[in-house]
Symmetry: C2
DNA sequence: CTGAAAGCGCTTACAG
DNA sequence: CTGAAAGCGCTTACAG
């Protein structure tokens, strides 16, 4: 007992005599004593470990994940918490595995971009606090963190228009996904505000990946041979924009000389393209850190500490980052070449 | 006891009567029983968790880490293992923290690119098995996984020469780091094999990051104004190559028209540049998976199972991936423009 | 100031 | 086939 108190600098009532303390410390050093985390967790009902659950699409975690994860790790390290990663293949199919993860090995769980049905949400265990980053539906009882994607999209398109771009192609994410729909709404609102009629042929459904961006762009180009290029292309995220860039390069079209291009997220990739990508920045690092901080507040609450005042939903502002992929439109837009 | 046996399908001698078994299962379902991982770990002396320790340079995990980590996660998932990430700031300074991580919360530890002194290696605890990916010094007693970087560099430079490039600038990593030195050796060997004298002005010391690549390239360009460009530039890794690409773009030089460019690693970034990067592929995903498999074999061994035949050092072959950043050299190389 | 005691939730011999 | 018992390594009242 005395050893436990001394070695943990515990806040129990017990005082240990200096001499005893010294003896304990000496013995610990001599024996190279290391506390056992599992035993401590069992006695404490606390693992000091946070879980992170994310879907690996096409077998790989992506840069969006990496941005959030870096923020999560930084905050976790500040608070002496470990982070364990659970990978899922598919939200719908793996939602059933979530309760099994909350078995005492983690104190709280961060869900990255969860797409859960209302039933799946109802089945979530209530003894473990959750935080959801970009949930497709806000999860009741969980902390929900999102960014103001609609405003981000709105402002990006408004600014493109302000720079003279009028025909703006939007390559969107899967219809029905909240993030995709919000960007579409922002896009449409900005067009309407500038009295530019919405043109359905300038909205391509694609997805959040490079592959989907490439395919969607190629398809659009193929079906538009001989017609004028848009002035600018606004993509649902950076990955999609990079796929787009590839498809344009394949038929010899240059960004931003022939057409301007914008992405969304400001992941690492936006700075590694040539030209660098103009994009709507989501503060991924800050969002990841904040998820950890708020989750830890909840965990302390669960452990009987003072009840923290926690918003259920935290919205982060977005911001436009201007780089070289957006230029000024040429007077006479180039025609789409045959490929 | 019966509950434990039934719920775990345990391999104990005990047989449980079907009726008892049914009663237990029913009760477990009714009570929504979830085993407690900490208690199980304490009794089993096994956490079913692997640790991953990596340095975050400039606050961010990079794509090299992401490549390995994806492989680690995939293999860990296959074996029902969790993965917890420990971030370090600096190997030298944080080596002392390593023993503290081996306190029963993990069964084995994977070190990503460790740069450890012989003393730090000696201080590593011996009750926890290790695997080291790209260790700067092979760690005795640990599984060491590396790729054949020297051959990769040699073949890349040999092939560049075969395509007509003779003046080849090498932007290297920090001198003294094994990975950097091996690439330099490969570079020099390939020059020697083609009877091209080594030119010290064509070797720039930089580092493994985009920033360092950009700075080194800019510096080289500045000091070479009015002189001929190299035919090709071979960078220590993809990140460095991308920095290079930026520095070239800044002064209006185009890849591959004005100069060819090659990287190393084949991270995600190599496919997201325009033009896409020719690079030496290290099988990062496979290396991460293999680290997990061999580490698990060791852990089973530690737990008294059959001794596995494990090589101390596993070397993965590299492979050149041809993309668009390498072209054929022009007859008259461009001169370095004033910036 | 100190230490004997109970308990965290599980597992695995072992004796009936 | 079944269940009482000891033990994993820690923490925290609690009684001296």
């Amino acid at each position: 007992m005395a050893a436990s108190v001394v070695l943990n600098a515990a806040r129990t009532s017990s005082r240990i005599a200096p001499e005893t303390r010294a003896r304990i410390l000496a013995a610990a050093a001599r024996l190279r004593y290391r506390p056992n985390a599992a035993a401590r967790a069992l006695a404490d009902r606390r693992m000091n470990t946070l879980g992170v659950a994310a879907v690996v699409d096409s077998g790989e975690l992506n840069l969006y994940f990496l941005g959030l994860f870096n923020g999560i790790l930084a905050a976790a390290a500040r608070h002496g918490q470990n982070t364990t990663v659970f990978t899922l293949f598919d939200w719908e199919q793996d939602a059933a595995r979530l309760p099994g993860l909350c078995d005492g090995r983690i104190d709280g769980l961060i869900l990255i971009g969860p797409v859960l049905s209302r039933e799946a949400i109802r089945a979530l265990p209530d003894h473990t606090p959750f935080a959801a980053l970009h949930p497709n539906i806000p999860i009741p009882g969980s902390i929900n963190l999102e960014s103001d994607e609609e405003t981000g999209a709105y402002e990006m398109v408004r600014e493109l228009i302000a720079r003279g771009h009028r025909r703006i192609l939007h390559i969107s994410g899967q219809r029905g996904l909240l993030g995709a729909e919000r960007r579409i709404r922002g896009y449409k609102r900005a067009l309407a505000a500038a009295h530019i009629p919405f043109d359905a042929s300038l909205l391509m459904n694609a997805g959040f990946s490079m592959d989907e961006g490439r395919r969607a762009m190629s398809k659009w180009l193929e079906r538009s041979i001989g017609q004028p290029l848009p002035h600018a292309i606004f993509c649902v995220n950076d990955g999609c924009a990079i796929g787009c860039l590839e498809a344009l390069a394949e038929v010899g079209l240059k960004v931003p000389e022939d057409v301007s291009l914008a992405g969304f997220d400001d992941t690492l990739a936006a700075r590694t393209t040539v030209p660098q990508l103009t994009t709507v920045r989501q503060p991924l690092h800050a969002m990841g850190s904040r998820a950890v901080e708020t989750l830890l507040a909840r965990i302390r609450h669960h452990h009987g500490h003072a009840a923290p005042e926690i918003q259920e939903t935290i919205v982060f502002p977005t911001e436009i980052v201007w780089r070289d992929s957006v230029g000024t439109p040429t007077a006479a837009p180039k025609m789409v070449p045959a490929s």
